[in-house]
């Protein structure tokens, strides 16, 4: 239980996917303009990350590893994720139109999101068991959401400020991301000591 808690908390705060591992930067910079789309996108990411882990972990352990096909990991995972996203979209559209309305736009964008492929590969590399992998995915998704929501707040504050001409647009956003990332470094070493 303690191990699961450590995995969850360190995935959210210390190894934050966006601010420490640089995965999923594109949606982080692109969709964090306002709070509503930031939350929608992160919810879709959490959802797809959990689904993708639930699908890829058994595939790796029970299909690829016993047949020495580990080298097919990349190609199989990306196909599974792409197919899964399509499937989820169709199912949501048919049975949960309300949820599809709020998440639908973001789902196709996630197929080529490196955070999703990243989390599935890292789960295997770290040698997690199935539940540890699921918890890690959940934590990574929550961390992504935390970073997105925080950053959308930072960006809305930035909108009214006087920015030097060459820094307008993405450059100042990246500098703001640097400062946000700095604040997350403060969590380093906290989680391990929390449970000892």
């Amino acid at each position: 239980m303690t191990k699961l808690a450590i995995i969850l908390l360190s995935a959210v705060f210390i190894n934050n996917y966006v601010l420490a591992k640089f995965l999923g930067i594109c949606p982080f910079l692109g969709v964090s303009k306002n709070l509503k789309s930031a939350v929608g996108m992160s919810a879709a990411v959490i959802f797809v990350m959990l689904m993708a882990t639930a699908a890829t972990w058994p595939i790796q352990m029970y299909l690829l590893n016993p047949h020495n096909l580990g080298y097919l990991q990349t190609i199989v995972f990306i196909l599974v994720i792409a197919a899964l996203v399509q499937l989820v979209e169709i199912v949501l559209k048919r049975y949960m139109p309300a949820l599809h309305q709020s998440l639908g736009v973001y789902l196709p964008l996630i197929t080529t999101n490196c955070a999703v492929l990243g989390v599935t590969i890292l789960n295997i590399d770290e040698g997690y068991t199935f539940w540890e992998a699921m918890v890690n995915s959940l934590g990574s998704g929550l961390g992504f959401m935390l970073a997105m929501v925080m950053f959308s707040g930072v960006r809305s504050t930035m909108e009214g400020s006087d920015i030097p001409e060459s820094f307008k647009g993405l450059p100042i956003t990246l500098v703001a991301a640097a400062i946000t990332s700095l604040s997350f470094m403060g969590f380093g070493g906290v989680i391990e000591n929390l449970f000892s």
């Binding site: 420490a20 080298y71 990306i78 196909l79 792409a82 736009v105 490196c114 590969i121 590399d125 060459s166």
Partner: protein, 232 residues
């Protein structure tokens, strides 16, 4: 002349990282040391070269409706091949790049060039375009890595630099430094490129998800880095 122009556009005017803002994740993550940056740049360039050649050669065979999945399978196969080569001949680089090596699959530069360029141009043109874009990617990575390694670690390709080695700014090699240096470089690029004739518009047209995206989740329309650039 046209071929040369086709090559050089990827270096500066349409630099994939600093102007088109594609492939940000590997740029930020692997630019902590110069050797890693060059390794990453080369690996991505090789994948890009072969994917552009193959996709351009197959552009009449691949049905339009399923082209994106086809491209992804092709690219994933190439990435796996490169990954195995790196594992066999440069194991140290494989450890250093770690997860970012398989993640070349989802690098937007490769899918973006396949969709925007290789699916419409001849094999030779696509190969030149891939080399140009790949060199631009490597160049941007190299620039960032030089700043981050020289000032952050006081070394150049692993060799100590006298004064800087004793006065290093370690934060530059950590995550915040990556964002910061990238922001500064992009600002420099904006400043520098402003007086030059802009070439092509990079909008949602080139984005693989354009058909489903409806511009609701894309900053491309607003960012001055590329959205508003028009033919001069």
């Amino acid at each position: 002349m046209k071929t040369l122009n086709n090559y050089t556009k990827g270096l500066v005017r349409e630099n994939p990282v600093l102007v088109l803002v594609l492939g940000t994740c590997p740029t930020l993550a692997t630019s902590t040391s110069i050797l890693n940056a060059i390794g990453m740049g080369l690996a991505a360039t090789i994948v890009l070269l072969f994917s552009n050649i193959l996709i351009s050669a197959l552009r009449k065979v691949i049905p339009d409706k399923v082209r994106i999945p086809c491209y992804i399978v092709l690219i994933a196969g190439l990435v796996t091949a490169v990954q195995m080569l790196v594992k066999a001949y440069a194991p140290a680089l494989n450890d250093a790049l770690g997860i970012y090596l398989p993640l070349i699959v989802v690098n937007c530069i490769i899918l973006g060039r396949a969709e925007m360029y290789a699916s419409k141009h001849s094999v030779f043109e696509s190969a030149v375009d891939a080399l140009g874009m790949g060199s631009g990617f490597t160049l941007a990575l190299f620039l960032m890595a030089v700043i981050r390694e020289v000032f952050g670690n006081g070394t150049f390709c692993g060799m100590d630099i006298p004064v800087l080695h004793e006065n290093k700014i370690s934060i530059l090699t950590m995550a915040p430094g990556g964002f910061f240096v990238f922001g500064l470089l992009m600002a420099m690029m904006n400043k520098w490129a402003k007086h030059k004739p802009k070439k092509k518009d990079f909008g949602c047209e080139g984005c693989p998800q354009a058909s489903v995206c409806h511009k609701t989740a894309c900053s491309q329309a607003e960012t001055p880095a590329h959205g508003k650039e028009e033919t001069a």
